[in-house]
């Protein structure tokens, strides 16, 4: 028997979704770890943010991989969703999806698009001003304009204190992220072929913990900064 085809198969396509998903989940964990520092030590948060914001390897090696992963994961997900709709031309008059699969697994497009919409707001809030300061104004110092201390913690606090609408949007987005991860975490393992009776229950449990605790951590930080600073 000889090999019939060398192109990217439907399994290759789902493996690519899984690999970019793994990288994005790793990034979420790293992002949360740094953000949590803002609650416990503004100075440490400033220093670590400055390091991550100016380190050559992180800025020019990891950041491009991250941007690629985000764009690829969304674009590829939409493409696969389009292909999947083409695979059933006539729809069912009655389709009981809830009888055999979770809402999360059936609606990754909805939760994914909600996270995408959130990313637009998040980039507007943080990433675009950061890139503007560093690369368009050439200010790599990480200092405030008046030179009194570093800017990162204050910038973070400013976004949430006195901003109930923004906090609400962030909270909503973290809930959607949680729903996305509740399916995505364990699904990524299945896609790369990892499924066995001994470890799959552990992976599912870890996936549920990750999907709840990581968004909860982000949610806590947003609410903390909203509440802790006087209104």
């Amino acid at each position: 028997m000889s090999s019939k085809k060398s192109g990217l198969s439907s399994i290759g396509r789902k493996v690519l979704m899984a690999l970019t998903g793994f990288f994005l989940m790793f990034f979420l964990l790293q992002h949360l770890t740094i953000n949590l520092m803002s609650v416990f030590s503004p100075d440490l948060f400033n220093e670590v943010s400055h390091f991550f914001g100016t380190n050559f390897l992180i800025q020019y090696m990891l950041q491009p991989v991250l941007i690629f992963s985000v764009v690829f994961h969304f674009a590829w997900g939409l493409y696969l969703e389009y292909q999947n709709t083409q695979a059933r031309e006539v729809k069912y008059a009655k389709y009981k999806g809830s009888a055999n699969a979770s809402w999360m697994s059936r609606n990754m497009l909805i939760s994914g698009l909600a996270v995408l919409a959130f990313l637009a707001l998040h980039f507007y809030d943080f990433w675009i001003p950061e890139i503007n300061t560093k690369y368009f104004h050439g200010d790599m110092s990480g200092m405030l304009h008046d030179g009194e201390g570093m800017r990162y913690h204050i910038e973070l606090v400013e976004k949430f204190a006195h901003q109930p609408m923004r906090v609400a949007l962030y909270v909503g987005a973290f809930i959607m992220l949680s729903l996305h991860l509740l399916h995505g975490f364990q699904s990524a393992f299945q896609s790369v072929g990892f499924n066995n009776t001994k470890y799959t229950p552990i992976i599912k449990m870890l996936g549920n913990l990750f999907a709840i605790l990581v968004p909860l951590g982000f949610l806590f930080i947003a609410i903390y900064h909203y509440n802790v600073h006087p209104h």
Partner: protein, 248 residues
């Protein structure tokens, strides 16, 4: 019991179909779903109408012929059950029951509830076999020792009857549970190792060519499969394909 049936009627592959309402009366709860369909068809024939076409053969849950998407689920509401083994006691008097063909681009409707599932045959032809010396000196299969655990998993995978419920129920019309089972039943046995490298690649390539959708791991196929085929077979197929294509 008295029932209202909403059934997909389509004269042939190339004409448009539609849902049509029928009433059936005095249905016994002990009838199988297909016997209830027989009652309807007798009623239609006696009334000079065209009976509803549907696939069936053994009527004991092992041939994989019967299909039907009943009230939004492949083979109806009872788990691990084919339509022929589904009984009317699973329904209530006065119910309205939707009966549709298994829907997928790769399963075109031939007539009414009958769909063409030959795409499954072509996937099987692409690699679902082993090479055996048939010159008369064929080695006794039992001469090769196989761990019980592997033999059991292989038999579980081989329990797939190829009915297509996995495709019908999947929101993406993916055939990965079927293909995963057919690859696994050989991958788990020493007799299947000879063609292992190409088998997964060839069968998956054929599956893609037939126009099935991509798997998004919802797990609906496993729940609706009348033979309880496990999702672990899809993961094994992924491993087989990746090791075959990466290691060459």
């Amino acid at each position: 019991m008295n029932l209202t049936l909403k059934i997909w009627r389509q004269k042939s592959a190339n004409v448009k179909g539609k849902m049509v309402d029928y009433k059936v009366a005095d249905i016994s709860e002990h009838m199988s779903f297909l016997e209830m369909m027989d009652v309807l068809n007798e009623q239609l024939v006696n009334g000079g109408e065209e009976p509803v076409s549907f696939d069936h053969d053994c009527r004991e849950g092992i041939c994989g012929s019967c299909s039907m998407f009943i009230n939004g689920e492949a083979h109806g509401p009872v788990k691990n059950t084919t339509t022929c083994q589904l009984h009317m006691r699973s329904f209530n008097d006065g119910d309205t029951i939707y009966i549709e063909p298994f829907r997928a681009k790769a399963f075109p409707v031939i007539k009414d509830l009958v769909v063409d599932r030959s795409s499954f045959d072509r996937i099987q032809h692409a690699g679902g076999f082993i090479s055996v010396n048939t010159s008369g000196n064929t080695q006794d299969a039992n001469a090769t020792a196989i761990p019980k655990h592997d033999a059991d998993l292989s038999m579980d995978a081989a329990a797939c009857i190829g009915c297509g419920a996995c495709v019908a129920t999947c929101k993406n019309s993916s055939a990965m549970l079927f293909t995963g089972a057919k690859i696994s039943q050989y991958a788990l046995l020493p007799q299947g190792k000879v063609e292992a490298k190409d088998r997964a690649q060839n069968m998956v390539a054929q599956m893609d060519e037939e126009g099935f959708g991509n798997c998004t791991n919802t797990g609906a196929c496993e729940v609706e499969c009348p033979k309880g085929i496990s999702l672990s077979n899809i993961a094994r197929m992924n491993r087989e394909l990746l090791s075959g294509s990466i290691l060459g």
